[in-house]
Chain length 261, copies 2
DNA sequence: AGCGAACCGTACGCCAGATCACAGTTCTCA
DNA sequence: TGAGAACTGTGATCTGGCGTACGGTTCGCT
C-alpha cells in the first residue's frame, strides 16, 4: 500500500522527519547469476609462478569435493588437512562464542585460496566454514603443498603478500568496529564487498547477501543493519532487492565510511 | 583513611554490594626494570636460519637510531623505508580517525620486528608508531632485505608464519570486540600482554601499562577500563600499581575472558 | 619543597545499538 | 497452490559503555 502522503516522502529533504521510511524494493532478479567456475588451479594467482606443466600435474592430483548450501565445509571436529581452493560458490568463514553469537570473518568468492596459514604452522583455530551457495572446492594435501609450494621462494612470497593483505584488512575492520558508528561500518563493508565481487563492466556493483549475512560481517544485529540499509536506500545511494544490494553511488558510500560519529 | 566498616569490605562476598570499592594501591616499584637490550640481530628469531657470519655482516651494516619517550618513530609523512628491529624500549603502533580517536594495534617489546609487510608489498598504511619508553631500533633498508631475506625460502616462511600469527591475533581481537563485554576483553588482553612480557620466573607476570594505554588497546575509554580493573583488583585477581598491573590469578582471568555477557 | 603533569577513582546523564516482538512479503518446494 | 521458510520493516524498551566532570594521589623536574 502506498503511503497517502507519498509526495512528501519522495521529495523530503535528506534530514527529513522520517529517518528510514519504507522503500519500494527491487523486484527483478535481472540475470541468472554467473557463479564463475573455472579449472581448478590455473587462475589462482597464488600459483602464477608455476609452469603450466606443474599446474597441470597438481590439478590432476587434487581431489575435489562439493557441498550444498548450508553444509559445513569444516569445523574444529574435522580439522583442516591442508589447502582449499574454492572453485564454485561462496563460503562463509566465521567464529562463534559459547553462547552462540557469531561473527563472520570473511565471505570467500570463487578463486579464493584458504587454509594458507596451516602450511606455515597455524591452525584454523576457532574458525568454522559454511557453504552459502552450492560449492565446489579442491584440496591439496600437505605433501603436495610442501613439494610444490614451500620449496619455491616466489610462492612463499606470494603467500606472505596474501597474509599481509589480510592483516591490513583486519586492522581496518578492528579500528572501524572500535571507533566508528554502524552507518560508517555498513558503508565501508559494502564498498569492500563490492570490490571483491567483480561484477560485469557497465553495471552497478551488486552484492548478493542478505541483511542477516551483512550483519554477521558487521558485528551488528540484523535489525540495526536493516535500518541503516533502508536509510541508505532512501537517499538513493544503494538499491535493495531480496538478499541483494546494488551500489548506486560508491562515492557517497566512501564519504559516509569516513565519518566517525 | 580506612573505611570505618573495613571489616565488612574485606570479608564481603564476591558479589558484594559495592561493585568496585576503592583499593589500596601497590606502592613498591620493586625492582629497577630490565629493559632487556641485546645485540641487534642475533636474538631475533626471524633470522634464526642465517649463519653467524651473515648475521654479523648485516649487523655491521644496519644503522641504528634512538627515540625518546613520546617521540614518533614514523607516521605517514615519514613513510617506512624497510624493516625495523626493536632493540630497547617499547613502541606503540596505533591508528587514528579524522576526529582524533585512536586505537592501538600493538605494543611492541624488544626483539620485535616490524614493517615486515612492506617487503611483501604492503605499506604501513594508516599506522603510526610512538615510543613509549626510550627506544633504540635498528634499520634494514630495502636492498639489505632483498639480499638477505627474500632470497632465502626459509626466511620467507618465517615471515609467513609471523604474519599468520598476526592474523590469528587480529581475528581474536575482532571477535572479542564484536561479541564480548568489556570485562572479558580486559581479561583476555591482560593475559595476552602477560604472556608477551616474559617476566622473570617465580614472580607474578607484570604489565607495565597505564589504564589509559590499556584502554587504547581495548577500544574503550580510560574510565570504563579503570572501573573494570578496580573490580578485578577487589576480587584479588590482579594487583595494581601506578602504570603497572600484576597478574595474581591467571586462571580466573581466563575464566572471565571466556564470558560472553 | 613545591608545582605541574601524569595517573587513578567515581559518579551521573545520555545514547547508539541490542533485545524483543510482530507483521508483511517473497521464495521454495512438496 | 498453499504452507512454511527465508527475508525484511518497524516499533517499544532496555542497557553497556561513552562523555563529562571533578577530586585525590604520585611522580618528575626546577
Amino acid at each position: 500500500m502506498m503511503d497517502p502522503c507519498g509526495e512528501r516522502v519522495a521529495s523530503a529533504p535528506l534530514a527529513g522527519e522520517r529517518p528510514w521510511s519504507p522503500q519500494r524494493r527491487d523486484p527483478e532478479p535481472l540475470m541468472p547469476i554467473d557463479n564463475g567456475s573455472f579449472s581448478c588451479l590455473s587462475e589462482v594467482d597464488l600459483f602464477a609462478d608455476l609452469s603450466p606443466a606443474e599446474i597441470e600435474q597438481m590439478d590432476r592430483m587434487a581431489p575435489s569435493r562439493s557441498y550444498s548450501l548450508g553444509e559445513m565445509v569444516f569445523s574444529q571436529s574435522q580439522p583442516v588437512t591442508a589447502l582449499f581452493i574454492l572453485k564454485k560458490g561462496r563460503i562463509r568463514i566465521f567464529r562463534v562464542t559459547e553462547d552462540g553469537k557469531a561473527l563472520t570473518m570473511a565471505i570467500l568468492e570463487p578463486g579464493a585460496v584458504f587454509g594458507e596459514m596451516m602450511m606455515v604452522g597455524q591452525r584454523m583455530y576457532d574458525n568454522y566454514a559454511e557453504a552459502i551457495d552450492d560449492v565446489e572446492i579442491c584440496l591439496l594435501n600437505t605433501a603436495d603443498v610442501e613439494r610444490y609450494l614451500l620449496a619455491d621462494p616466489r610462492i612463499a612470497i606470494r603467500i606472505s603478500r596474501h597474509l599481509g593483505q589480510q592483516v591490513v584488512r583486519l586492522e581496518e575492520r578492528l579500528t572501524d568496529l572500535a571507533l566508528r558508528p554502524l552507518q560508517s561500518r555498513v558503508c565501508s563493508t559494502l564498498l569492500r564487498l563490492a570490490e571483491a565481487a567483480r561484477t560485469p563492466r557497465f553495471t552497478h556493483p551488486t552484492i548478493r547477501l542478505s541483511h542477516d549475512q551483512l550483519a554477521g560481517l558487521l558485528g551488528a544485529t540484523r535489525e540495526s543493519t536493516s535500518k541503516t540499509m533502508s536509510e541508505l536506500a532512501s537517499r538513493g545511494i544503494i538499491r535493495q532487492g531480496r538478499a541483494r544490494v546494488v551500489i548506486l553511488d560508491a562515492d557517497a558510500l566512501g564519504q559516509l565510511a569516513r565519518q566517525s560519529n
